[in-house]
Point group: C3
């Protein structure tokens, strides 16, 4: 129940993120709604397509589309005031990331997947929406470039699967995982944590 409320808040935050990126690319209102919706629901859809887990969430619950389209339209209307909301957005977006991860793990567990696939399903749910948003907006996906974003999705999923493995109560485990993942996300934002990157600009001829 709490998880479901967090999920709805998360898809609104993700839809906002997509709508803003769409506005920056001079999309019309339709494009803004599409990019917002794909950002919000693309991660879960990609997970379900890869797992063969039908029907997709938004097909079983078309009302989710009202949340994402509504969030995109409101974002477009209040765009000029959005810079005041940046800190709120980052916090809500971080909460969404870890909630998506835990929810993605649950879906894969219910489908009887191996633990490694469960963690991966959580990570895909958390990050693929943003990845599709960036591909649609003709950008190299940010999630592949910086700030431990995806690593936090992996960490949250691994912690959650570990807690269940250690027989932690199944109503407490998601909350512990979400709390810990969210804390790490806030620390990563505050201290600009990064994974190592590698300069491959001199390597030619392998594609």
């Amino acid at each position: 129940m709490l998880l479901h409320t967090i999920y709805l808040i998360a898809i609104v935050a993700e839809a906002m993120s997509g709508a803003i990126m769409g506005m920056r690319r001079d999309m019309d209102l339709f494009g803004i709604c599409v990019v917002g919706t794909i950002t919000a629901l693309g991660g879960g859809s990609m997970r379900d397509i890869l797992l063969g887990n039908y029907p997709l969430g938004w097909i079983a619950h078309p009302e989710y589309l009202l949340f994402t389209i509504g969030a995109a339209v409101v974002t477009a209307l209040v765009a000029r005031f959005l810079h005041h909301l940046r800190s709120v957005f980052l916090v809500v977006d971080g909460l969404g990331l870890v909630a998506f991860s835990v929810i993605g793990c649950d879906v894969a567990r219910a489908a009887g997947m191996a633990p490694g696939i469960v963690i991966l399903a959580g990570m895909i749910t958390g990050v693929f929406g943003g990845l599709l948003r960036d591909v649609l907006c003709n950008e190299i996906p940010l999630v592949l470039q910086r700030e431990l974003y995806a690593t936090i999705a992996l960490f949250t999923g691994a912690l959650y699967v570990g807690l269940l493995w250690w027989d932690v109560d199944s109503s407490a485990a998601p909350l512990i995982a979400i709390g810990a993942g969210f804390l790490v996300r806030l620390l990563a934002l505050r201290f600009h944590w990064k994974l190592p990157s590698f300069n491959g600009s001199g390597i030619r001829g392998f594609e």
Copy 2:
């Protein structure tokens, strides 16, 4: 039967559109055929993957691939004369858009989807081929940026679902929806109708 003929004309028009975009990107003949085929069949394939509706159309009917590949090859061969055909192309492409929408609605209805999902399935069928074409050609999808293209797909699908809801005869309803959608498309082209867009270039830090 008439709908099927319109469908074949539509995939030829879409394959032409993809082939021309591929040629502009200096693709070889293989790439031109791939982009043409994905433009023509990508919308229906995306719809069927999202709905879990297998087998995909072109797998059940591989002969569709002959139409799209043939159209791409012919387009490449006659490229230098194509500018004479631009008006014909826009008319055929508009007919294809609304036919794709109605056909997409029919597929989702046959799969027992809710009315909102039926309309969305029609829209995805109409516009995702062009969207995939633009992603492959490293462009921000035009369909997200301009000219009411996608909105006409939505309008056509919504009208079609409404007509069936109002018990209009099921052989007349697709023709009325296609006729009305096609008319709106021609008016949108003639008068350069647009949805509002929003300048989000000043908003940073939400991705």
Copy 3:
């Protein structure tokens, strides 16, 4: 058995190719692993999603992910020495391309597909990993632009299906197809064979 060994070598080569492209785009270690894995396993995944053939290979065999992630990490660590390996890479990559094609044909045959779809499934298995890699890295897919790469996947698949049609022994047929395809790939690399391309830069207004 031999085919399976070649497959594992092939996914390692493809993961290297993806990791190198990721490094060139300044991705972090996570991004490098994701692009490597998608390059290696994306072709087979796309084929299985299009065919509705579940579960996907890497979900049934999560250990494949260890190969692709391991290959990506090692590639990142030894990046500065990679230019010595370019010739080895091109040979292994060519072997992977034709092995992927034959394996993709086998999967579609086992699913009872028509011969044209079998050949196409082999081609998709061979080339879609590289295509997804290039889309993620914000490039026009190289496979659509040059060097007969995809054509060799088609040739290998068509030869393999033809050999089985002519009742060639089913343990000999894949080896003959792989050998012939590999030879053509080496010749194409050596002599820079190309398909014709077409200059469409002057054609406007068809998208």
